[in-house]
């Protein structure tokens, strides 16, 4: 009763999210004494997915899958699940995964449990911990039925290395036409995306105005980070909506979240809570964010951030 993993790729590269998902599947597989099959839609020959824990790889090589379409990918994964007799199908927290997972779940008549944060606490019934109330609590939920779809929270498990080789087999697929057509895609290619970022530099109303964001962008670029902002800043139009992080914005599950001039309202904290290390720079020692932070500096952002940029440059030069 294998575990099937939808290992996402982008132009042939299997990113950290896919690596982590395979590692997580391997962790579950060991508890259930079964194997991990990575299902891919791009050529996996160079990726060596065995090194993350896959036992074998199923290459769903169909022209209609080369550009992501949620309906067709869900259909393909359902076929792969039935053919392999899978008990679980795993997806990530990416936008594409979250789009296809509900469609896949109904194709399989299965429950879908997203935002999972760890290995199962029980295998009979299969019970997983997952984030609820927008990261304000954990729920332990049991799945019923013979097959389930699971979504892993980003950065919840980490990438683990295995000394394995995974054989690749091709899966023949017949796919129907899609109910929709993609007519254009716009991506900011040179910017780090919040969804992928290991480090996020975020700023709020403490910056006083959009004209002051230069130092935030400079700090982010220096750290290879994505830039983000609080809801008031997005509502004021100082920064694009796509940067708004928080309960009603994008979730952040980075390794390092740096918040500059953000007070730390409950809604903001809920959205960024899954980040491993939180750093707060704020002039107000009573700012609620300091209670939720791991590290902080009480000080004026307009002094601290330029100093941080300079000291980081020195640090990088010394450690190069």
């Amino acid at each position: 009763m294998p575990i099937l993993v939808y290992a996402e790729s982008d132009q042939g590269a299997f990113k950290k999210g896919a690596q982590e998902l395979i590692s997580f599947a391997r962790g579950i597989a060991e508890k259930m004494n079964t194997e991990v099959i990575a299902a891919v839609t791009e050529d996996p020959a160079q990726a060596n997915l065995g090194q993350y824990g896959a036992h074998r790889v199923l290459y769903c090589n169909h022209p209609a899958l080369k550009e992501f379409n949620a309906e067709l990918t869900a259909n393909a994964l359902a076929q792969a699940a039935k053919e392999t007799g899978a008990t679980l199908v795993l997806v990530s927290s990416s936008a594409d995964s979250r789009y296809l997972a509900p469609l896949l779940a109904i194709e399989l008549d299965a429950p879908y449990l997203p935002n999972i944060t760890g290995l199962p606490t029980s295998t009979e019934p299969l019970t997983f911990p997952h984030n609820v109330f927008t990261n304000k609590a954990t729920a332990f939920t049991a799945l019923h039925g013979s097959i389930g779809v699971l979504g892993l929270s980003k950065n919840a498990f980490g990438v683990q290395h295995h000394p394995d080789d995974a054989g690749v087999s091709n899966m023949d697929l017949d796919l129907p036409g899609s109910s929709w057509e993609i007519t254009s895609t716009e991506k900011a290619n040179n910017k780090v995306m919040i969804a992928d970022a290991e480090v996020v530099v975020s700023a709020g109303r403490g910056l006083k105005g959009p004209e002051n964001w230069g130092m935030i962008e400079e700090l982010a670029e220096l750290m290879g980070a994505a830039t983000a902002c609080s809801k008031p800043v997005s509502d004021l139009g100082w920064r694009p909506h796509s940067e708004h992080v928080g309960q009603t914005g994008k979730p952040v599950a980075a390794n390092l979240y740096i918040a500059v001039g953000i007070s730390g309202a409950i809604q903001h904290l809920a959205g960024i809570n899954s980040s491993k290390v939180k750093v707060v720079i704020n002039t107000d020692p009573e700012a609620p964010f300091f209670k939720a932070a791991d590290y902080g500096i009480v000080g004026d952002a307009f002094e601290v951030v330029p100093d941080l940029i300079q000291k980081l440059k020195d640090f990088k030069a010394q450690n190069a």
């Binding site: 509900p102 039925g145 991506k187 290390v277 300091f290």
Partner: protein
């Protein structure tokens, strides 16, 4: 055109989250319930379509009688009719199953559901509902235009956006972007008065039961106090040597 807006009755965003003594249920004492934020953008968008091209806007929610004030609020904002499916909203799968007969009987051209609710963050009802009813589906929808039987939808993707075209009928998983925060409709006195007499029909629960069940909840462990650095150099040292994140 007939539009169905699916709304969830959820604790408001400032709620402190607590559970009962054995951690098996959410403690609703003192909690204010509201329309799920993502659903509000969908409701306003539906009303824009109603005003621009003529449409009937119905709202539906799955839940017990305690959810009716939230449905009345949606009527006060401008929806024409409300439907409550009398069934506890357990998991996303059973909620989608309960909504599917409403969609099919009503033969709606467009169904707008919030992409994700802030309580259980399942993010699955819009997609499951689309699949159950055989409707086209766009998730994380931040733009929508309808012309006759054709729809053009904009989907937010990681790092950008994508435009898709399809024919009605359609389900979208809506969020901020469908309309701006500042455009959100709120109930006025007249709306509130009218809401009292607009229809709120209760239908029995339907469809398959839940396929998942919460066994228990856990609140996060209390946080240790923050480590304050005196200056940037010290912070970098802590992040490098102690936290090991840079």
């Amino acid at each position: 055109m007939k539009i169905l807006v699916c709304i969830s009755h959820v604790p408001d965003t400032t709620s402190k989250i607590n559970f009962n003594a054995d951690n098996t249920q959410f403690d609703t004492n003192g909690v204010q319930f509201v329309i799920n934020p993502n659903d509000e953008f969908g409701l306003t968008r539906a009303l824009w379509l109603k005003e621009k091209q003529g449409a009937a806007v119905h709202v539906v929610s799955v839940g017990g009688p305690e959810t009716e004030p939230t449905l009345r609020k949606a009527l006060a904002i401008g929806a024409d009719e409300a439907i409550r499916v009398d069934q506890p909203a357990t998991d996303g799968y059973s909620v989608a199953q309960a909504l599917a007969p409403v969609v099919n009987e009503g033969q709606y051209d467009l169904v707008i559901a919030g992409r994700e609710s802030i309580d259980y963050n399942g993010g699955m009802v819009p997609g499951m509902l689309a699949k159950l009813c055989g409707y086209a589906f766009v998730n994380t929808c931040i733009g929508l235009e309808i012309e006759g039987q054709s729809a053009t939808a904009v989907r937010e993707i990681d790092g950008g956006k994508q435009t898709l075209k399809m024919s009605l009928p359609l389900v979208i998983g809506g969020q901020k972007g469908l309309v701006e925060e500042s455009d959100l409709r709120i109930p006025n006195m007249r709306g509130i008065m009218q809401a009292r007499t607009k229809p709120l029909n209760v239908k029995p629960g339907a469809g398959a039961g839940p396929k998942s069940e919460v066994q228990s909840f856990q609140k996060p462990a209390p946080k240790e106090a923050v480590t304050l650095a005196e200056n940037a150099e010290q912070l970098i040292s802590l992040l490098h040597n102690e936290a090991k994140v840079i």
